[in-house]
Structures are given as structure tokens and as C-alpha cells.
């Protein structure tokens, strides 16, 4: 995720007179001393905030409350972390209450979950050498599954049932954020719980995957002076602009490919295949490629928005998606496609496994840790993402309908293991052999993997295999 290169760099041609490699669609304004100096003045800050607010508005986000929060953090940088917590709490409680979008009972449950998080964090920090202090994550996830099991075993009409499920939904939303806090609690110089809360579904937006990781990471990347803040904010503005350009590309692609050329989406093509009315194989390829690229664009747009706001708040976070199409290995693509999800898998599953097991067997050690992260961790994350399925179907049926994604996790782990264990060969000469062909192969791998990558639960694995075979004109 190197940030040295800008968001839109041409990389193809290099001629003696005109260097396309240095061409940038969005100039690197954060490297212009005059711009950086201006961004530190009152007028500069106001212009930056106005431009950023306008960008948020165009992108369809809650522009006003976000800009207000960012303005407060820009003008009172010394209390940035306290303000982050206050803004995050305002977005969690005040805004939904103000707009009347969320029932009061959900807000009360959120408070209960935060209290539980506080107790867990405090205990882990207080007793780091106890059994719990050494394995706080194990305890956290066991607690979640115990509550879930309890809810599943309750009789259907039980009065406590809605309370349990509400708690599980909210707990599930916060669990990875709490996990990062518990990891930080082990550090000698950890943040207090007040600061940790600022990173729990922060006001700049986040999925269940913490953007960008937890409080410990924010501590590392916080701007330390006015110049760093100006540079970080300029990078944030650039990233928002890039996200808007990608949004335009996304809309054009949807209009042109899906609307005008009538290329179906992958779920549509899969549905027809499952209903024994398969589209021609080449249309299935079109559908798969279309879904792959729209998925990539959507993730980039949303991730860039979150990180742009995070940077505008004074935290120089790395981008979530960084030039994935130029990846030349499967592992590199995984690192560049959804960076913060990959970081989550690393911190919660890969490192704990890698550092403990099979230390004397180099390859086995790596393979086992990759399976723990990309296989087990990935599956666990997505299974926990939708407790509603467990509520409706019961545990075993929910697990059975999850078979396709489980298979995806196994394939992904195999791909990543091979990619990591392959011995590095000298880079072949020429752009085609060293850059283009490996990149196309990697994209093709992930495209084909996407046949099994959806978390929809309507069709069993065999239907996904049928679709996969049909791509090669084999009709099962």
C-alpha cells in the first residue's frame, strides 16, 4: 500500500521527451510548499473544508454533520482524540435520534454493548497476565458465541428472545472494534477507553471492518503538528476527488455495460443458470467481469471516502484500495484490494497462529497461518456478519447455506499459500511478461474465484460449479 505514487498515475509509456509515467490526473498538491503553507492559514483551512464539504455533498454523504465534525477537529487539533470520541458518539446516538431513524431500544442496546466493551477492556488492561489478559480475543469471541447459542436455544416465543437478538446484532457490529481495543490493552502505553470508543464505528464511516483499524493505529498516524495536518488534509481532499472520479466511472460503466449493452449482473446470470436457462457462455463471462469490476469500483469508492474523511480529521491512514489491477501476484492483490479487511485477518488470525505453531517447519507454518486467516478467519467474519440467518434458519441450516462461501475461503487460502510459497524468480524482461500478463492472470484468478465468493445463500455449491463449468462451455 505504498503511498508514494498518486491516485491516478499513468504507467505505460516513457519516451525521452514526454514522460507519461509522471502524469497525474490529480496533482500531488501535498508536495507543493506554497499550498501546504496556505493550508495552514485560516483562509486555507476554510477553503479546504468548503471544498471537502462540497465533495461529500456531491458524493451523496451526510455532508453537513460530517463537515461540522471535521471543522471542529481542524480548528482544535490539540483535543483531536477527545473530539473524535465525541463526534463518533454524536453520530452513534444523537444523529439517529435526531432523524428518528433508529428506535430507542437499539440505542439502549448500543450503550449496553459499549459498557460490556469497557469492562472487557479494563479487565484486560488491569490483569494482563491472567488467563483472560493473555487471551482476551478468545474470551471475546467465546462470549459472543455463548450468547448466540443461548439465543438459538431459547423457545421461539420467549419474551427474552428479541432482547438477545438485538444485543447480538449490535455486539456483532462492534466486535472487531472491541477486538482491536483488547489487542491494544496489552500494550504498555495503550489509550484509555475514552479514546478507544472514538475508533468504534468512527464518525467518518466504517463497515464491520474497522476503518482504519483501532485506536493504537490512530495513535501512530495522528498528525503531530500544523504542517503534518495540512499535508494529511490535502491528501484527504485528493482522495475524495479520486473517489468522485471513480463514482463517475462507476455510473458510466453501469449505464454503458448494464444499461446500454444489456450485460446481466452475476447474480442474474447465476439465477438463470440455476433455473436451467443458462445464458451463452460468453455472456456469463461478461456478467462475471462486469460484476468483478463494479465490485472493485464500489469498494474503492466507499473505502476512499472513509479514508478521505479520516485524513481530513488529521489521521494519515493508508488507502483501503491501492492499484489492485497492477498486482502481479495473488498475495499482492489480496493486500491491495481490501487492505483493512486483510489487516483484520492478519492481526486477529494470521500473526497469533504464525507466531505460535509449526515454527520449525517454514512452509507448513506459513500455510497453516494463511489458512487460519484467509480460510477460518474470513469464514468466521462473514458468518458472524449475518446473525439474521442463524435466527431464521437455526445454526446448522445457516451453516449449510454458507457452504459456498466456505468453499471460497478454502480456494482463496490455497491461492494465497501457493502465491506466498512460490520462490521469487528474476523479473522477466519486457512490460508484457513482467507486468501485463501476471496482472491479467491475477485478475482472472480472482474473477473465477468470485463465482464462489458471494455470500448469497440461495443456491447450493453445485449450482455455482454448474455456472463455473458453463464458463468453459461445459454443461453439467
Amino acid at each position: 500500500m505504498a503511498e508514494g505514487s498518486s491516485t491516478a498515475t499513468g504507467t505505460l509509456l516513457t519516451t525521452s521527451g514526454w514522460n507519461l509515467a509522471s502524469f497525474r490526473l490529480i496533482p500531488r498538491i501535498e508536495t507543493y510548499p506554497k499550498v501546504v503553507a496556505f493550508a495552514q492559514t485560516l483562509a486555507g483551512k476554510l477553503i479546504l473544508l468548503a471544498l471537502f464539504g462540497a465533495g461529500l455533498y456531491v458524493g451523496g454523504q451526510a455532508a453537513v454533520p460530517l463537515t461540522v465534525c471535521l471543522a471542529v477537529m481542524t480548528f482544535v487539533p490539540l483535543t483531536r482524540r477527545l473530539l473524535l470520541t465525541l463526534c463518533t458518539l454524536a453520530f452513534a446516538f444523537l444523529l439517529p435520534w435526531f432523524y428518528g431513524r433508529v428506535p430507542l431500544s437499539l440505542l439502549v442496546t448500543t450503550v449496553q454493548v459499549l459498557v460490556l466493551a469497557g469492562i472487557l477492556f479494563w479487565s484486560a488492561a488491569q490483569w494482563p497476565h491472567s488467563f483472560y489478559g493473555r487471551r482476551p480475543l478468545l474470551f471475546l469471541f467465546s462470549l459472543f458465541w455463548l450468547i448466540l447459542l443461548w439465543a438459538v436455544l431459547l423457545p421461539p416465543g420467549a419474551t427474552a428472545s428479541p432482547l438477545f437478538w438485538r444485543f447480538i446484532f449490535i455486539f456483532g457490529n462492534y466486535i472487531w472494534f472491541i477486538g482491536f481495543s483488547l489487542l491494544d490493552a496489552k500494550a504498555t502505553a495503550h489509550d484509555d477507553f475514552g479514546r478507544q470508543v472514538g475508533a468504534y464505528l468512527p464518525f467518518w464511516g466504517s463497515s464491520n471492518t474497522p476503518f482504519p483499524k483501532g485506536s493504537a493505529y490512530l495513535r501512530q498516524i495522528e498528525a503531530q503538528n500544523a504542517e503534518q495536518l495540512a499535508i494529511t488534509q490535502l491528501k484527504g481532499l485528493k482522495l475524495l476527488a479520486w473517489s468522485l472520479l471513480l463514482l463517475l466511472a462507476f455510473r458510466f460503466m453501469t449505464f454503458a455495460v448494464h444499461g446500454y449493452l444489456q450485460v446481466p449482473t452475476f447474480p442474474e446470470a447465476l439465477r438463470l443458470s440455476a433455473n436451467r436457462m443458462p445464458l451463452p457462455w460468453y455472456t456469463c463471462w461478461q456478467a462475471l467481469l462486469y460484476s468483478f469490476f463494479t465490485g472493485l469500483l464500489s469498494l474503492s469508492i466507499i473505502g476512499h471516502r472513509f479514508i478521505a474523511c479520516c485524513r481530513m480529521a488529521g489521521f494519515n491512514a493508508l488507502r483501503n484500495t491501492y492499484r489492485p489491477l497492477s498486482s502481479v501476484t495473488v498475495a499482492q492483490f489480496f493486500n491491495r484490494y481490501y487492505f483493512y479487511f486483510k489487516e483484520l485477518l492478519l492481526d486477529f488470525f494470521f500473526y497469533p497462529t504464525f507466531l505460535r505453531y509449526f515454527k520449525k517447519h517454514k512452509n507448513l507454518r506459513m500455510a497453516f497461518a494463511i489458512f487460519a486467516a484467509a480460510g477460518f478467519g474470513n469464514a468466521l467474519y462473514h458468518f458472524m456478519l449475518s446473525p439474521d440467518f442463524i435466527r431464521k434458519l437455526g445454526f446448522w441450516k445457516a451453516l449449510v447455506t454458507f457452504q459456498v462461501y466456505l468453499f471460497y475461503c478454502v480456494l482463496l487460502s490455497i491461492g494465497l499459500t501457493i502465491s506466498n510459497l512460490r520462490k521469487k524468480r528474476p523479473k522477466p524482461a519486457g512490460f508484457l511478461r513482467s507486468g501485463l500478463w501476471p496482472s491479467i492472470s491475477v485478475v482472472l484468478f480472482y474473477c473465477l474465484l468470485d463465482v464462489f465468493g458471494s455470500t448469497e445463500r440461495n443456491y447450493p455449491l453445485v449450482e455455482h460449479f454448474r455456472f463455473f463449468a458453463h464458463l468453459f462451455s461445459i454443461n453439467l
Binding site: E3, G4, D347
Partner: protein, 93 residues
């Protein structure tokens, strides 16, 4: 001080492999700046285990611990200090 040179050399090699020829200071951020990625982090971990007998399973691990040459150096120093203290403790028993 020798180990710091070895660490610097190792990190420099990782950066060179990525085509990163920017200057490297001992306090330069390596992972949080994006100059190195998680694959490189794993290589640093293995190097610390093999060359300096650092046991992360014992001391705990997060990526910020190896985010700069200074940070890596301090891990090696505390690991070596522990190694020297251990026989003394055993002797004390």
C-alpha cells in the same frame, strides 16, 4: 550496535526489492507509511526469530512493534537483556 546495522541492512534490502530508493532513517515509519507491507513484516519477524532469538509468542506482537528500525532495535535489545537476565535468575534459584 552491530545488530542495528544488520537490521538496517535487512530493511534496506526489503525496500530495494520494492524499488524504494528513498532515504531510510532509523525512525522512518515502515509499515504505517506503506513503504513495507505485511509480507515484509512477516520476513522481519522471521529474521528477528532466527538471528536474534526473539520469541514473539512470549512477548506479544503487533505491527507497530516493527514499524521503524529503532522500534525493531529496541525489541532485539530487550530480548537480549532477557536472555542475559535468565541465567542469572536460574543461578539465583
Amino acid at each position: 550496535m552491530d545488530h542495528k546495522i544488520a537490521i538496517r541492512q535487512f530493511v534496506r534490502e526489503l525496500l530495494d526489492n520494492k524499488g524504494d530508493d528513498k532515504p531510510l532513517n532509523d525512525d522512518s515509519h515502515l509499515l504505517t507509511s506503506g513503504r513495507l507491507d505485511s509480507v515484509d513484516a512477516v520476513q522481519i519477524v522471521v529474521m528477528l526469530e532466527e538471528k536474534f532469538a526473539v520469541d514473539f509468542a512470549q512477548i506479544g506482537f503487533d505491527q507497530t512493534m516493527i514499524d521503524s528500525i529503532d522500534a525493531i532495535d529496541s525489541i532485539v535489545r530487550s530480548a537480549q537483556a532477557e536472555e542475559t537476565a535468565e541465567p542469572l535468575l536460574k543461578h539465583g534459584k
